[in-house]
């Protein structure tokens, strides 16, 4: 059967013919020309920028010339060994807590979405507890776990039989307690973010995957999670930045991260403001650096949903390559 026969039956009503003759120019001018127009002048933007600029200059000078701030102390401590060690520990804590909490959070999210009432109930209970109590309280709780259980032992419950028993404070030093507190708390939030991401995936995707004979687990890993990532990553970047700052709360259980170190130094030299400036600078730099991986992750998981331009690095590389060096172009052709 010829193809036109197939399609003709598919379009029942023929549209009436449309008049395609060009519209007459309203004012008699030729409208084929490029547009040459005077741009709008945004007078008030310039005024607002000027006022704000003056305000910032005044604020900066009042801080800089403040007799109560010793600039030398800021410079001395900015890269002192103690502060740098504290910053490294802050990074390690953030990294560990985010990685572990993401794993736990994904598991919790899948449990909550599961049709198994035991699993989804358990996940609900977990999120209810850890999201419903202050992080500060949870940190102190893990820090003082030794008060609740003197020893942690492995054995048969409700009997005296034990395989081994360890002193709680030996098994869980402050650092470990800190990681546990941050991880367990963050996992509750991450679970909700992951769950929202999973719910954002079009249900037709699951049907298509199932109709191809994919098992639920394969569909989850290959089809649903990769698409959920697009929705999950932006808020997770947010959570990572929050986490970096929340590590400061561990000063309560004497984990020697950035803020604790600064606090201890200022307790000795009584230069509280200077050391707060030092740690603020560190936190600002670290949170700024964190937005870089977020950018690339968003690109990676945004594939197929938008047209990707070159990355900032790609643009620099392209700029460098544009120089007329025959050797470089040779390499490119390989």
């Amino acid at each position: 059967m010829p193809r036109s026969d197939l399609t003709d039956h598919g379009t029942p009503g023929r549209r009436p013919p449309v008049d395609l003759s060009p519209l007459p120019a309203a004012d008699g001018e030729d409208d084929d020309d490029d547009i040459v127009a005077l741009p709008l002048r945004h007078t008030w933007r310039w005024v607002a920028a000027g006022v704000l600029g003056l305000g910032f200059v005044w604020l900066a000078s009042s801080l800089w010339n403040n007799k109560n701030v010793d600039h030398g102390t800021i410079a001395n401590f900015m890269f002192s060994d103690q502060i740098v060690h504290g910053a490294v520990l802050t990074i390690v804590l953030t990294f560990l807590a985010m990685v572990l909490s993401t794993i736990l959070g994904v598991v919790l999210a899948l449990m909550r979405l599961s049709s198994n009432p035991v699993l989804s109930g358990l996940a609900w209970l977990y999120i209810w507890v850890f999201r419903g109590t202050p992080l500060l309280v949870q940190i102190v709780f893990w820090g003082y776990l030794g008060l609740l259980y003197k020893q942690i032992s492995l054995g048969v419950p409700f009997t005296d039989f034990t395989v081994f028993a360890v002193d709680t404070n030996t098994l869980i030093p402050a650092f470990v307690a800190g990681v546990i507190a941050l991880t367990t708390n963050q996992a509750a939030y991450t679970a909700e973010i992951v769950r929202a991401g999973m719910l954002s995936v079009d249900p037709g995707q699951k049907e298509a995957a199932y109709s191809l004979g994919m098992t639920p687990l394969f569909c989850l890993l290959k089809v649903e999670l990769p698409q959920a990532m697009r929705v999950i990553i932006p808020p997770m970047g947010n959570e990572t930045i929050s986490m970096l700052k929340d590590t400061a709360l561990l000063s309560l259980i004497a984990v020697l991260e950035l803020y604790t170190v600064a606090e201890r130094i200022s307790a000795q030299n009584l230069r509280q403001v200077e050391l707060l400036v030092v740690v603020s600078c560190w936190y600002l730099v670290l949170t700024s650096v964190l937005s870089v991986p977020q950018y690339y992750l968003e690109r990676r998981f945004g594939r197929g949903s938008r047209v990707l331009g070159p990355t900032p690095i790609g643009r620099v590389v392209a700029l460098l390559r544009r120089q007329p060096k025959p050797r470089v172009t040779d390499k490119e052709s390989l």
């Binding site: 059967m1 039956h9 109709s211």
Partner: protein, 265 residues
């Protein structure tokens, strides 16, 4: 394929798909009120009927995307979704259902391509991951299939970069990559711009000519007339009448069929 060979022991007349008194309820609404039909190997069946008549629901019951409340669906000698054990019906595990669905391809109204994968990856995902076909062979097969649907040059395009008609043809290639014995089409051209409908229908027609067994829910009467071996007209959850296209389309016996055909032609 070796799986089919064992089937040759059966009588050749045995239909590939049989549905007996299939019932389906959504809440208090009876969507299917006892559908009985059978599809022979190599047959192309078109399901026609007004929207809400239960055609799509029935199609989704065939590969167990919807569970049925009554009756039986048998495909290739096996009950769909249930196993008979000790005289009682037992629900299949998700793994068993997945295995059963591998023999049945499905094409959706809204394409449902995986947007994060390229056209080629859409086609190879299930063969590599589920059928465990070596990657090089799966990619070669997929390229062959994309070529057959006229999209050899679009292997590395993401679905968002393709037109609706192209996406639907990728979806057909994706379903065929699992080498199904039966293909289900759920209004495959209803979401397409009119000028793209022809390309998809062409592919479906070629597929029908190649001997594929197909059940097609469609409003394309021209396709039904030219390609279908049998037409089933459904309304309000029942089969009103069925027969070869020449009979149903030229001289329908029932008033409801007549009224529907008058409204779409």
């Amino acid at each position: 394929m070796t799986i089919i060979d064992s089937g040759s022991v059966q009588a050749p007349e045995e239909p590939l798909l049989t549905a007996r008194r299939v019932r389906k309820r959504f809440g208090k609404v009876d969507v299917l009120k006892g559908i009985t039909l059978s599809v022979a190997k190599g047959e192309v069946m078109c399901l026609l009927g007004p929207s809400g008549s239960g055609k799509s629901t029935f199609l989704r019951c065939i590969n167990h995307l919807e569970t049925i409340d009554g009756g039986r669906i048998k495909f290739d000698g096996e009950l769909i979704g249930y196993t008979q054990r000790k005289g009682a019906l037992q629900e299949m595990t998700p793994r068993e259902v997945a295995r059963q669905r591998r023999g049945i391809g499905m094409v959706f109204q809204r394409f449902n391509l995986f947007p994060h994968l390229t056209a080629l990856e859409n086609v190879t995902a299930a063969p590599i991951g589920i059928r465990k076909i070596p990657k090089t062979k799966a990619v070669a097969d997929a390229r062959e299939l994309l070529d057959q649907v006229g999209l050899a040059d679009f292997a590395h395009a993401h679905p968002a970069q393709l037109s609706g008609g192209q996406q639907q043809r990728v979806a057909i290639a994706r379903a065929l990559a699992m080498e199904p014995k039966l293909m289900l089409f759920d209004e495959p051209t209803s979401a397409l711009d009119p000028e793209l409908v022809g390309d998809v229908l062409d592919v479906m027609q070629k597929l029908a000519k190649s001997g594929m067994t197909m059940v097609v829910v469609t409003h394309e009467i021209g396709f039904a007339r030219g390609v279908a071996d049998s037409i089933v007209f459904m309304d309000e959850g029942v089969v009103v009448e069925s027969g070869p296209p020449s009979e149903i389309l030229r001289s329908p016996r029932h008033q409801r069929t007549k009224a529907f055909l008058d409204s779409v032609m």
